[in-house]
């Protein structure tokens, strides 16, 4: 009984937050609604990255390309082939990203450590170059592909910045819930075990390679949904959107918020998106300096994080470990 009660109680703040966030359009301008929608999409993308990055320890610098496959798939099916159902497009985007991430996994998992990172970087760059070079993925003379809009849910909905925000919020909540379920499941345990010590996991009977493929594909599939949402909201998607700069930004989001923690990457995603927007508004020229500076400061502070986390943990537990030996 008590456990059910505590579980419910733990969900109350989340529910209050969600309902509060759903009501936000009453207070915001449509520009702010669009900004928040964008922040939610990127936060979700960062959270999907962190499933592989933080949980399974697979440091990828090509995640934006996987999201890009979803975005471009949605664009292709909508603009070139005239599909207009949201559900059709979102499922197609997720499947395309799943397939692309499977290829990513099969290629990149042949390498380890730093080489793994470099391979993901190269793969991501290849996808972004493909989008840049292939005429099939271009409209008119511009690099960005345009003509995509928010498709119909088939429920007689009326799309404007407020309703889109609410819809994306609900989708994001579902996505986060899914990620939490994965993290809390035996699969999540296997991801973290493989990250901590691959050889041990093998000796416990785990085919670590297979679990890593699963981590990358799950992470990529979720990011495909985010990529499609990004294209729907923006009305366009371009090779630079899905290049290494965006991948790096996603990593920054995850790390700033706390990679490998439950909500860290998501919160980091919201913060960095907002910061980037307001920095751009303040000065287009200085914004890259601000984000770059943030990157450097984060990297430097990261050295101290284990200590901070450890100190917090012992504070919250209120006691030091009893030594046996």
């Amino acid at each position: 009984m008590t456990t059910v009660f505590t579980q419910l109680r733990r969900k109350v703040p989340v529910l209050v937050l969600l309902i509060g966030a759903l009501e936000l359009p009453f207070l915001l301008s449509s520009q702010q609604e669009s900004l928040l929608t964008r922040a939610l999409i990127f936060a979700m993308m960062a959270a999907s990255l962190d499933l592989a990055y933080g949980q399974a320890g697979l440091y990828s610098l090509g995640h934006a390309a996987l999201a890009g496959v979803g975005g471009y798939t949605a664009w292709l099916l909508m603009v070139r082939y005239g599909h207009e159902s949201f559900w059709y497009l979102i499922v197609a985007a997720a499947l395309a990203s799943a397939l692309a991430s499977l290829v990513f996994a099969l290629v990149s998992l042949r390498a380890r450590g730093l080489y793994f990172i470099l391979v993901t970087l190269a793969l991501g760059q290849m996808v972004s170059n493909l989008a840049q070079q292939w005429d099939f993925l271009k409209t008119a003379q511009a690099e960005a592909v345009t003509g995509i809009y928010i498709p119909s849910l088939g429920l007689g909905e009326d799309w404007h910045s407020g309703t889109l925000y609410q819809f994306v919020l609900v989708l994001t909540a579902l996505g986060l819930f899914t990620i939490q379920r994965i993290i809390g499941s035996p699969l999540g345990l296997a991801f973290r075990g493989s990250r901590d010590n691959e050889v041990r996991m093998e000796a416990l009977g785990y085919d670590v390679w297979r679990y890593r493929v699963v981590a990358i594909v799950l992470s990529g599939t979720l990011s495909g949904v985010c990529g499609a949402l990004f294209a729907f909201q923006s009305g366009l998607i371009s090779p630079t959107n899905i290049g290494v700069a965006t991948s790096g930004l996603l990593v920054l989001m995850a790390i700033i918020g706390g990679s490998g923690t439950r909500y860290g990457a998501f919160i980091g995603g919201i913060l960095v998106t907002l910061l980037q927007f307001y920095a751009n508004q303040w000065s287009m020229e200085r914004a890259p300096m601000i984000i770059g500076g943030l990157f450097i400061v984060t990297a430097l502070l990261l050295r101290f994080r284990p200590k901070v986390a450890g100190a917090l943990r012992s504070l919250t537990r209120g006691r030091v470990s009893h030594a046996v030996a």
């Binding site: 345990l189 990250r195 050889v199 041990r200 996991m201 093998e202 000796a203 046996v324 030996a325």
Partner: protein, 242 residues
């Protein structure tokens, strides 16, 4: 026809790159027995354990588990067939809690309920007390107990222990000895192959002793016999003079 031994190693050779460390090991371990694998440093004890687990490249020879040739299988497949490993220098998962260590390793046995998380925590009460602590927040002794429990959680038929007393205080070593003897009295206890530097500890838990010298078996007899053979202890292991 006689039942095959649980573990049978035949003329096993192997090593890292061009440097062979095992020069034709032959060894059997019977179900329910505790075998100590002894010898000086660098004689191939840990390499033998690694070869059984599939973590050491093999050049020739065979490893059989319950009559089945497992020489070609990778570590995870061997683990699934019933080999549990307590590795050298422990190696806990730093970001998993004690309970998660047991859950991530858990595998149901072929029959019966086997070693469940609850049963393991009964056998190792300190793990119940520390069930929410992270691996790297445990003391050395707690880590060692956790790693033994983690290996048992896979319900192995053969448990490989690679220097479980390394770097632990004498009182903890005694605790582990008591625990292992308690474990062997359980009805579904796995067979144990124990690599040790600590001769007194090894002979107090083992019923059979095998001594390796330069990657070959130099002595194979009962632990009781070896206890009385000061000459063998001194010449092959380099202890026992005291």
């Amino acid at each position: 026809m006689q039942n095959p031994s649980l573990l049978e190693i035949k003329d096993l050779r192997g090593g890292y790159g061009g440097a062979p460390v095992l020069h034709g090991i032959g060894l059997t371990v019977e179900s329910g027995s505790v075998t100590a694998l002894l010898g000086r440093n660098g004689m191939g004890k840990s390499s033998t354990i690694r070869a059984i687990m599939g973590q050491l490249p093999r050049s020739s020879g065979a490893v059989r588990l319950a009559g089945r040739d497992i020489s070609e299988l990778g570590p995870h497949k061997r683990a699934r067939l019933g080999i549990g490993l307590v590795p050298e220098s422990r190696q806990v998962f730093r970001s998993l809690t004690v309970r998660e260590h047991l859950e991530v390793a858990a595998r149901r046995p072929a029959s019966g309920t086997g070693w469940t998380t609850d049963r393991l925590m009964d056998l190792f009460p300190v793990l119940r007390k520390r069930s929410k602590a992270f691996g790297n927040n445990l003391s050395g002794g707690e880590q060692q107990l956790l790693v033994i429990a983690r290996a048992l959680s896979t319900n192995p038929s053969l448990l490989l222990l690679d220097e479980p007393t390394e770097g632990l205080a004498p009182s903890i070593v005694n605790e582990i000895a008591v625990l292992l003897r308690q474990l062997t009295r359980e009805a579904d206890a796995p067979a144990i192959l124990l690599v040790e530097q600590n001769l007194r500890f090894a002979l107090s838990v083992a019923d059979r002793a095998v001594v390796l010298v330069s990657g070959e078996v130099a002595y194979d007899g009962s632990a009781e016999d070896l206890s009385g053979r000061r000459d063998v202890q001194q010449s092959l292991i380099g202890v026992g003079a005291a």
